[in-house]
Amino acid sequence: MVDAFQIVRANLPFLGSALLVTIELNIASIALALALGTAMGIGRVYGGRWIDRGLGFIIDVVRSIPILVIMVWVFFGLPLLLGVTDFPAFLAGVLALGIHSGAYIAEIVRGGLGSVRGGQLHAALALGMSRPQAIARIILPQAAIRMMPPLSTRIVRNIKDSVLASTIAVQELFWAANLLEGETAKPFPIYTTLMVFYFLAIVAIARALDRVYVKVAVRGAA
């Protein structure tokens, strides 16, 4: 008991390399989610009625399916549908997390864009900007600041959901912990260390995002 955590210390390099995979997985999937979410959010607000409805349906479908199910479907099912062999687990993890978070982010973007008053767009158009210019330069920057609190919640959520990639054998942190537990049969030190680590990391990231928001919030005030 005194040195139960010896097992963790001895395997720090192994866990460290797995942490790197967790970080890569999150950066890639959050980037994908932001790109997808922004595109879909803009499409819903400015794309006209039918694009709005179509995207709305797709977003609701994605949001109705658990992330774990999306993950196993993308990893096991999608390659069969496409006739691809050797589909990398990491790619499946990025796709699944990116699509899942992207659907939620699309709704955040839609809400943010909708919160910028119509007069802003009219003013930009009156100054001779084109519609895409007005959206990109006037509406989006203001909306982006207002979107930050829900976005940071979603980013944190993405980090927590990323442990599910262990179920499709992405060699991230939780996968490594399970492997170690399987080899040593010492769940207490391994899972406790992981728990403390995730707690501290997530609280730190949430605080950091919050601090950034507090700094820029004034510029987003209506």
Binding site: S64, Y191, T192
Partner: protein
């Protein structure tokens, strides 16, 4: 490519799992609501040390991955404390802790969002503390808290899929078992996704409707 008979045959095989998923959701939610209310009231009105402890507890469950929480309860709790619960009870307990933490934050914010003047007005009219809370604060907080609570229900319904990793035979577990039995991976997993979709989609739409109906107008 897509073998339709295997797809249709999957649904009856998934049914027992679906019942476990529903059972888990229906069992966990009321428990989580009660725990969440206690936590929220504790954070708002209990003496400071107690409120601090409640806040720490809530933060812990909110800031760690659910899957890790369930694994910890499933593997560490029995090995360290000797408490050996059945798998179903373990994951139900974990889900209650997790969901109640999120709900309590929602409740706390909802109650705190009602301006103190409302309570003071109630007291000025001769109501007791308790009366002012239950007749003035709670009814107003309720409409702010309710949509979020409903979407937590849908969230829980989906989150129960994680218990499949701990050998609790829910909907996801049955599908993954069927997949290894008949190797109709694409058909079985598509049937699985469709099952969740058909069940969760109307619930999610209902939540959207609740949000629209209870939009806050200051």
């Amino acid at each position: 490519m897509f073998y339709w008979p295997a797809f249709f045959e999957a649904f009856p095989a998934l049914l027992p799992g679906l019942l476990v998923t529903i059972e888990l959701t229906v069992l966990v939610m009321p428990c989580a609501l009660i725990v969440a209310l206690v936590l929220a009231l504790g954070r708002l009105y209990a003496p400071r040390p107690l409120a601090r402890i409640a806040t720490g507890w809530v933060e812990f469950w909110r800031a760690t991955p659910l899957l890790l929480q369930l694994y910890w309860l499933y593997y560490v709790m029995p090995s360290e404390t000797g408490i050996l619960l059945p798998g179903f009870a373990t994951v139900a307990f974990g889900l209650v802790c997790n969901v109640s933490a999120f709900l309590s934050e929602n409740f706390r914010a909802g109650i705190a969002s009602i301006r103190p003047g409302q309570r003071h007005a109630g007291l000025a009219l001769g109501m007791s503390e308790r009366q002012a809370f239950f007749r003035i604060v709670v009814p107003q907080a309720w409409s702010r808290v309710m949509p979020e609570t409903a979407s937590m229900w849908v969230e829980l319904f989906k989150e129960t899929s994680l218990v499949s990793t701990l050998a609790v035979a829910d909907l996801t577990y049955q599908a993954l078992a069927l997949r290894t039995a008949n190797y109709r991976t694409l058909e079985v997993l598509t049937a699985l996704a469709l099952s969740y979709l058909v069940l969760a989609y109307p619930q999610a739409k209902f939540c959207d409707w609740l949000y629209r109906r209870h939009r806050i107008r200051e």
